[in-house]
């Protein structure tokens, strides 16, 4: 829950400008981007995600480094990805 995880924006939801479809280590989920006011986000941009919300925009090199760090820590990241896989904040 405390881990910031990097994700790549796949698309901005056409009818919900505060939601983006994001790819996190192969898991695609909706992420709320409402806290990144004033950042122009588009597909291909990388963001740092905490519990379903993007907290900052990062560059690709930082995203890669962060992913390496997370993959290295093992269980905690696996748990976070498993939780993300169960998340479905886009529908409902």
């Amino acid at each position: 829950m405390c881990l910031g995880i990097p994700g790549e924006i796949v698309e901005i939801e056409p009818d919900r400008s505060d939601l983006a479809k994001v790819d996190v280590s192969g898991v695609r989920r909706a992420i709320n981007i409402g806290l990144l006011e004033g950042e122009r986000l588009e597909p291909g941009d990388w963001i740092l995600i905490h519990v379903g919300f993007a907290l900052s925009k990062i560059d690709e090199a930082e995203a890669k480094a962060a992913l390496e760090f997370l993959e290295g820590i093992g269980q905690a990241y696996d748990d976070e990805l498993a939780a993300l896989r169960d998340s479905s904040i886009d529908r409902g």
Binding site: Q75, D79, G92
Partner: protein
């Protein structure tokens, strides 16, 4: 030799390590606290302490939000979960945290409906789908998760979802650092500042540490090189007689933080007069509660809260570990009665707790074992 063997930037690390050694004054010892659990993880995983001169000690601080939740609040949450029609939701990290009468997992075994969610938005979604249930979200975390909780409350209010509330346990990092600075137990020379919390609050709130306490603080990233570089920057400040806030992690952390995130926190939440921290006791203005304007989404207004205080188990020394007074392996029950499988204290429950990080990664460091058995 994990670090040198495995890490791709081993040469840079060795170079930094040499420069760190050069900056250390002969005969002087240094204590730096890393506040964030993520940093603790990196330090143990890569055995970073083995690449520092003996005169530098890294002290692990209270930056694991699961670890600082007092047992009484866990009991309060379990009490809420036991009320008719209540469906409690929580991050997975909380599920095994022991209260005075067991953990969330224990109460699900006794029939309480407590579900793990990834995001508070998932909890809100459950509330929309199950209008006959009172859905409560166990909100925990520092300023990294508080904006997400606040955004979710705003969304619930805007949509008129009346069966959604939060049990707010959000804490703020600055008062905890101040409590440690004011504690007579520990003399510190500087701080490795938290990375992700700072993406929200920025670097300015740390300035009093440099100005009023004369201690340098460097906001740091999570890679081994980030931490080594931050230690180098701290030592350079000390060598030059400076105490400032520096931002080593500027590639992610803006100096001013995230203004929108700060705005939504302050729209939905206000400071509590005081809050109990495990190990640190009561700290004034150190936690957040829901503002009266959003009382309809505040579990503390909707349900009766027992609010009892529960003392930590006698054998458990999480308090000392959280304050940085004890190293994990110096705790009496570390690795024997208390393991990640059967945790007694919170520092062993969360993967970011100092004890769990050390248990998982640190045990095989020869230097540390030598120290532990000395």
């Amino acid at each position: 030799m994990r670090f040198v063997d495995e890490y791709r930037d081993a040469d840079k690390a060795r170079a930094l390590s040499a420069r760190i050694a050069e900056l250390c004054e002969p005969g002087r010892s240094y204590k730096f606290m890393e506040v964030c659990g993520g940093h603790t993880h990196t330090i143990y995983k890569h055995g970073l302490e083995d690449y520092l001169p003996e005169s530098i000690t890294l002290v692990h601080g209270p930056g694991c939000p699961v670890c600082v939740i007092p047992m009484g609040r866990v009991d309060d949450a379990i009490h809420i979960a036991g009320q008719p029609d209540v469906l409690m939701t929580s991050f997975g990290d909380m599920m095994r945290v022991p209260g005075g009468r067991g953990s969330f997992f224990d109460s699900t075994a006794q029939g309480a409906d407590i579900r793990m969610v990834y995001s508070p938005l998932d909890a809100l979604k459950i509330a929309r789908r199950e209008p006959d249930r009172q859905v409560v979200f166990m909100a925990i975390g520092f300023e990294t998760t508080a904006p997400s909780t606040a955004m979710t409350v705003l969304r619930a209010a805007a949509e008129g979802v009346t069966n959604f509330s939060i049990f707010c346990n959000h804490v703020t990092i600055i008062p905890a650092i101040k409590a440690i600075l004011d504690s007579p137990d520990l003399r510190l020379d500087g701080f490795i500042g938290p990375g992700h919390v700072s993406t929200v609050i920025g670097c300015r709130p740390y300035e009093f540490i440099a100005r009023e306490y004369g201690k340098p603080l460097v906001v740091a990233g999570f890679e081994p090189l980030d931490i080594l570089q931050s230690i180098y920057l701290l030592l350079r400040q000390l060598a030059e007689g400076r105490s400032e806030v520096e931002n080593q992690y500027s590639r992610v952390v803006p100096w001013e933080g995230n203004p929108k995130a700060l705005r939504v926190i302050s729209e939905v939440m206000e400071l509590r007069p005081y809050f109990e921290w495990r190990g640190l006791g009561f700290i004034s203005h150190s936690a957040l509660r829901v503002r009266p304007k959003y009382a309809a989404h505040d579990a503390e207004q909707i349900f009766e809260i027992p609010g009892g205080r529960v003392a930590d188990p006698k054998a458990c020394q999480c308090g000392e570990v959280l304050k940085g007074v004890l190293k994990p392996w110096e705790c009496k029950v570390f690795g024997t009665a208390c393991t990640p499988e059967t945790p007694i204290g919170t520092c062993m429950v969360s993967s970011e707790g100092a004890c769990a990080a050390y248990y998982n990664f640190g045990r095989f460091s020869r230097k540390r074992v030598r120290e532990a058995t000395r």
